[in-house]
């Protein structure tokens, strides 16, 4: 029998809670922030500051931010 968990403190529940909550707050949009540094022999070659907004293509198309894919039936 599966046991309903509603207020547990396990990391799993915290993760689920956060993901679901963010999904509701942002309507399927999540931002990834981070730094990427590529080095060879102690010399920094590439440094990338990552600040990306991740959202669904469906949402972007709906909001008129992204054009829908071109139809393949066009003549």
């Amino acid at each position: 029998m599966a046991e309903l968990r509603s207020a547990a403190n396990s990391p799993y529940d915290d993760d689920v809670r956060l993901v679901e909550l963010l999904d509701r707050i942002l309507d399927t949009g999540v931002v990834i922030v981070g730094d990427l540094q590529l080095s060879v022999a102690g010399i920094d070659l590439v440094y990338i500051n990552l600040r990306a907004l991740v959202t669904s293509s469906e949402r972007l198309i709906r909001d008129d931010i992204l054009d829908p894919p071109a139809s393949t039936n066009e003549s």
Partner: protein
């Protein structure tokens, strides 16, 4: 730039630190960005200098959520999402002033809470990981079986959702669900705050026959973001 947190009726007295912007019969409840960090944990809210339309980060979104929760506990309010496009108060005010469905959404959603039921099944094993496949024909058969299994899970979740809505129809004011993956169901339920304990008790009874390898989690209550007003994208973000 103030953060727009929620909508209230125009005559609602807002608790500190919220400030109001009246738009006809409505009021935007907002918090100045520079005080958000002080109020919540003393940290700088972050973000870059610019036109105020930088992409939001997760931390700010969660702070926004805590403010919205605080307000919704104090007064009857309709939460507004923390948009990926970051709204200016004037953007929201213009939109609210020009639409006719605000009253309808207000009557249905304001003052209520959202709870989420999440059900996780073990994922179907990936076809690519099956080392027993030794031929193209066996691979295609395995792919077909994989697809049928996924379809069966989706139908099971759809049926389960319908049954749950029937069982709790007197508590649920609105609902929707989605399948994040074929093995993960996420249902949202709009409830009266006073009904959350009853809803949870009925869920426990309803979920009793579920198999052991299904993990149910009940999340919330939190402000009813899934049922609130949909605002258009800000003009600055349009292409």
């Amino acid at each position: 730039m103030p953060l727009v947190c929620a909508l209230t009726t125009a005559n609602t007295s807002l608790p500190a630190p919220f400030v109001g912007l009246t738009v006809g019969a409505w009021q935007l409840a907002m918090v100045e960005e520079d005080v958000v960090g002080e109020i919540l944990d003393g940290e700088d809210i972050g973000g870059e200098e610019g036109d105020g339309h930088d992409a939001p980060d997760l931390e700010t979104a969660l702070r926004h959520h805590r403010l919205v929760s605080q307000l919704c506990l104090s007064v009857r309010a309709l939460p507004l999402r923390y948009s990926p496009q970051l709204y200016r108060p004037s953007d929201v005010a213009d939109d609210i002033a020009g639409r006719s469905d605000v009253g309808t959404v207000w009557d249905r959603v304001a003052g209520r809470v959202e709870m989420v039921l999440r059900l996780d099944d073990p994922p179907v094993s990936r076809v690519e990981d099956d080392e027993s496949i030794t031929s193209g024909a066996a691979y295609l058969r395995r792919r077909a079986a994989h697809y049928r299994e996924q379809q069966a899970r989706q139908r099971r979740f759809e049926t389960l959702h319908d049954d749950l809505v029937n069982k709790c129809h007197d508590l649920i004011r609105a609902q929707h669900y989605k399948l994040r993956q074929p093995h993960c169901y996420s249902g949202s339920f709009l409830l009266e705050p006073s009904h959350t304990a009853t809803f949870e008790a009925r869920l426990r009874d309803f979920l009793r026959p579920l198999p052991d390898d299904t993990t149910p989690s009940l999340l919330g209550p939190w402000p009813p973001y899934s049922f609130t007003l949909e605002l258009p994208p800000t003009p600055a973000r349009r292409r």
